[in-house]
Amino acid sequence: MHFLGCIIPHRYPSVERATRLIFPDLGMKLLDMEGATCCPAPGVFGSFDRVTWATVAARNLTIAEESGHPITTGCNGCFASLWEANHELKEDDELREKVNNNLAEIDREFKGTIEVTHYVDALYDTAGLEKIREQVSRPFEGVRIALHPGCHWMRPKLVKQKDESERPHIFRDVCETTGAEYVPYKDELMCCGAGGAVRTADLEVALDFTKQKFDSILEAGGADLIVTPCPFCQLQLDLGQVEIQKHFGEEYVFDVMHVSEFLALAFGHEPDDFGLDTHLQYMQRKSEPNWAQILM
């Protein structure tokens, strides 16, 4: 079942559209999750009240449980909320009892019968690198990409047990199927600054993280493109450039793509097929992607 969350469908719909193109290309079917809500944001609602966070997340999980299909989501935050709630409710009987008492009031029950995955898991584990490679009809030969894997897909590493969070390779492997050139930079694994309710609490502190990441990419010789598996990181890196200019007077010009968009282009879809030029950065700056740099 396809969990959309808030930012993809409400602010970066090009990511939703691109996902709806590439999953069928790879033979994977996306089922709509009618009536799903905010995950709810783990660093925000988890910081306010753990039981409320777990209850609302569990409500989302029950929608997928009714269908019997696993969840996949393209957002690190949604993934963290749903995966962690699923995990904690399966392990922690006390929390599960509290949550199920709450859910009983709306005739729902968490049963713990499904798994939660991220698009990156669907791409790497379900489709597999070979199948992705077969779909690449427009290789990104010579395009230099900087990656921003973000935090919540792979951390905390001991709980999630997905990738070695100090030296992750899965997201990089997926991106490299396109033939693009991976650009290592010092702060690749650092947080974008948006998470944990910091973007809402103090925008300038959040942007200061983002600035450090941009400077670090420039120190590494720059990149033609930044790729991330998370729309909240994408928003912070994309719209964040406009905000950095406003708050600190410094200008950065990076195209930032979600991995779904990046693969859609590599699979031969046109930018207009999913509206690449609707990113908030372009809308606000009245600019366009640097087409030549991304071989369009």
């Binding site: 469908p9 409400h10 306010f48």
Partner: protein, 179 residues
Amino acid sequence: MDFVDLIKKAGGPNVQSCYQCGTCSGSCPAGARTNYLVRDIIRKALLGLKEECVSVTELWYCTTCYACTDRCPQDVKPTDVIKAIRNIAVAEGHMLSNHQKVAVKVIETGHAVPLDKEMWQQLREKVGLEPIPPNASANPWAAEEVKKLSEICGFDKLIGYEEFLKAEEEKKKKKKKEG
């Protein structure tokens, strides 16, 4: 219940394993640019200095990136400890007004970032999608369920939802008078 027990109960069960090595603060991108020191907050917590933990704005500079949690040699899970302290802070009335607004959005629409303007629907149509996605935006019953859950959990009271509504009402009235 003393502060340490409160933290353990609110989601930071390993807080007492901390031996103050400072690995967490050394890994912390929030600490690198602000006065926020995760090791220091944990030390104060272990000393029972509740007020000094819950009332400082720095508490809200942690992005929950889990760099500290992945490196802490004692499995303290500092990120979870910080979130637990934030739960206690909110329960004691230390909530930032921006955060209250986000919480209200979820209570009212089911989404922290709602489809609240015509322009967002147009953006969806522009990329070739239906104007309203199949989440709570297209299903008001889903937002109703979340609202009910927030009442059952006492979340509406916790964040001061009623007071928020009253204040908004007052603002509107004032505007009307002036306008």
